[in-house]
Amino acid sequence: MPLIQSQVVETHGWLSMNEFINLITIAEMTPGPIGVNAASFVGTRIAGMGGAIIATFACILPSCFIVSLLAYIYGRYKQVSALQNILACLRPAIVALIASAGFSILGTVVFNGNHIQLSSVDWIGIGTFIVAFIVLRKWKWNPILVMSLCGVVGLGLNLLMGGIPK
């Protein structure tokens, strides 16, 4: 992110700092990886649809090369015992990282991004989370359906409780 900022805002002057902050908000709010989102946004602003396509492809091309190389190595040497050992140690670490990502999202849901104190607890958020978790674990609902329902339920409940947002 800081890298994108220095290139786009400072070196080339394609966006103002304000526009850049908006870009971050949108990139985080919409689906897709932030790097790709930022590239399409900046590309469109500067050169329309063509700009978006070129910026996105330029953004993923280097990783395409590197990752295919890694994929090749992985496929070739997967059976080698040294690599097996490393992968065996990496797997629990990856589980830990996914868990950490999940809990930090849960943290922003519960505390609304505020300090950790009882008064800033978002009960609607906790409620939807618990129901969603149970539904996923017990009945194996489609995760995308669960997510969309959570959005609608959260919006509905918040409107009922707090009225129309500013």
């Binding site: 689906p31 295919s68 996914i98 997510m147």
Partner: protein, 216 residues
């Protein structure tokens, strides 16, 4: 007689050729179907996945491991490790790896396009009226509600994965998992260091028993 036999043989060969043709056709058709399924699934996952790279990995795990059974859980975790340690977006890297694994080079292209198309289109459209979108209270509430769902989806997948790690009853794996979690979540240590540390443990584990073997 000889001639007849020859002819018979030739027609045999001819039939076999036709058969192999049919088989390659069937293979091609199968491959085509596979590519289409791959494309539609990456497109679908990418359209609805809000948030960072680990979110999309949990969705991919649900789809490709649990539903389609194209890859197993271990491979998915290996791929996540590779995707995380390479430069670039995790989602794109993971798509490259899965596409490659399932259908080779064409699979890779298809999976990557499926993954980047939705955000590209959405962002291109949004960049024209982004202030209206970003400042809209309804949208903000909707997205906030969806975050609760995202957290539930991730933790549901974590529940399964973590359970499997514990079932293995390897003390080392459990210790790595717990310290990794504390390091990432409580101390906010950069992901790269955690991955490096886990790899170092793996390397040590690979070297140590061999030395002991030489000694004895």
């Amino acid at each position: 007689m000889e001639l007849e036999k020859d002819i018979e043989l030739q027609s045999d060969i001819g039939e076999k050729e036709v058969e192999t043709h049919k088989r390659t056709d069937a293979k091609k058709e199968h491959r085509g179907k596979l590519l289409i399924t791959l494309f539609l699934n990456t497109l679908y996952i990418s359209t609805f996945t809000f948030g960072g790279g680990f979110v999309i990995i949990t969705f991919m795990k649900r789809k490709f491991v649990d539903d389609l059974k194209w890859i197993n859980e271990q491979e998915m975790l290996d791929m996540s490790a590779l995707a995380q340690s390479s430069p670039g977006a995790i989602a794109v890297n993971a798509a490259i790896l899965i596409g490659w694994k399932i259908c080779g080079f064409p699979g890779m292209i298809v999976a990557v396009i499926g993954t980047i198309l939705p955000p590209m289109v959405i962002l291109a459209v949004l960049s024209f009226f982004y202030t209206a979108f970003a400042g809209n209270g309804y949208v903000a509430l909707l997205l906030k509600g969806m975050q609760a769902g995202v957290a539930a989806v991730i933790l549901d997948v974590v529940w399964g994965l973590g359970g499997n790690v514990i079932k293995e009853r390897s003390k080392l794996s459990i210790i790595i998992m717990l310290t990794g979690f504390v390091a990432a979540f409580v101390f906010d240590i950069n992901v790269i260091y955690i991955i490096l540390a886990a790899s170092m443990i793996g390397i040590c584990k690979a070297i140590l028993p061999r030395r002991q073997g030489v000694k004895s």
